[in-house]
């Protein structure tokens, strides 16, 4: 049953650490337009985190732009003890929470209180066999819609972790720093999120699996 883990390198979507540091050095030395290259790999996680927090696409897009501008204006304060992406996601999170406060919405902190002690129903969907759904099946728009609905339907604290860990493929440490939670909380929340996703999706995904060939070349 030994199979490779599903995760790719934590650096896969970000600039390498050395080129990142060099790019920042050059921006601070006056090559301002290089900031476009620096922020580009961070655009999607910034937006996904903000849309998860704000639940409004237009508001999230505006907040993503503000986040990018704040990152530029504060670039001298980036100390390089984390990846740039982690730092900019912390700015995004603060931007999102600040907007929620202005709107009078509940703060994430209050939602978080005690959340990791909740028991909840994390029993998986019980199946006796599983036929893998290949990525090619995503050509069918309904599958993407089904997956988005399941992720968007997760409680916020679980959704944020899934977005950064499984969708943006960030490592545990980076996710913890970006969300301002412990690494243990990242692991607990990710486990629960995956269990909830398996439970909601597994019974529906069978329809997207390739049909088995029957005895006479037909399909069952």
């Amino acid at each position: 049953m030994e199979e490779p883990p599903v995760f790719r390198s934590e650096e896969s979507k970000a600039l390498g650490t050395e080129s990142e540091a060099e790019t920042i050095r050059r921006i601070l030395a006056g090559e301002r337009s290089l900031f476009h290259d620096l922020i580009r790999p961070c655009e999607r996680p910034i937006y996904l985190l903000l849309v998860s927090l704000l639940k409004n696409e237009a508001e999230a897009e505006d907040a993503a732009q503000e986040t990018s501008i704040k990152a530029y204006l504060n670039l001298r304060n980036f100390r390089g003890d984390s990846q740039f992406r982690t730092w900019v996601l912390s700015i995004a999170r603060n931007e999102g929470l600040g907007r929620l406060r202005k709107l009078g919405a509940r703060r994430e902190d209050s939602l978080d209180a005690g959340a990791d002690e909740q028991t909840g129903d994390f029993t998986p969907a019980i199946l006796t066999s599983w036929r893998e759904v290949p990525a090619d099946a995503l050509e069918r728009k309904e599958l993407g819609a089904l997956l988005r609905k399941a992720v968007n339907g997760l409680p916020e604290i679980y959704r944020n972790v899934v977005l950064l860990r499984d969708i943006e493929e960030m490592d545990v440490k980076e996710t913890a720093v970006a969300l301002g939670i412990s690494e243990g909380a990242v692991k607990v929340r990710l486990h629960r999120a995956r269990a909830l996703l398996q439970k909601s999706l597994a019974p529906q995904l069978g329809a997207f699996a390739p049909k088995r060939k029957g005895w006479f070349g037909g399909r069952t």
Binding site: M1, E2, E3, P5, V6, F7, I27, L28, G30, R32, S33, F35, H36, I39, E43, R44, Y47, L48, E57, E61, A64, Q65, S68, I69, Y72, L73, L75, F122, T123, P124, A125, I126, L127, T128, S129, W130, E132, V133, A135, L138, L143, G144, L147, R148, A150, V151, V162, L163, D166, I167, E169, K187, H191, R194, A195, L197, Q198, L201, A202, L205
Partner: protein, 81 residues
């Protein structure tokens, strides 16, 4: 050590991420060889994780990148480094 299905489920996420100790992993593997339910739970969970990570599932809104970089370019003009 003998582990039951619930015990295996509690380690599914860590197992997928290769974060369980070698001894426990071997025990889970032995369980999976004979428990088709846990094998299906593991396979389906892993399949879900792979599918949601596909870039086609969560995409940026059309024109998002252009609008962001247009606004950024204006700000870069106004502000010094």
């Amino acid at each position: 050590m003998r582990i039951d299905c619930q015990h295996v489920w509690s380690y599914i996420s860590a197992y997928i991420d290769s974060e369980v100790a070698a001894e426990l992993r071997a025990e889970i593997d032995r369980h999976l060889e004979t428990c088709e339910i846990c094998a299906a739970v593991l396979d389906s969970t892993r399949n879900v994780v792979v599918l949601i990570a596909d870039d086609r599932v969560f995409e940026l809104p059309a024109g998002f990148t252009q609008r962001l970089h247009d606004r950024l370019a204006r700000e870069l003009e106004l502000a010094g480094p």
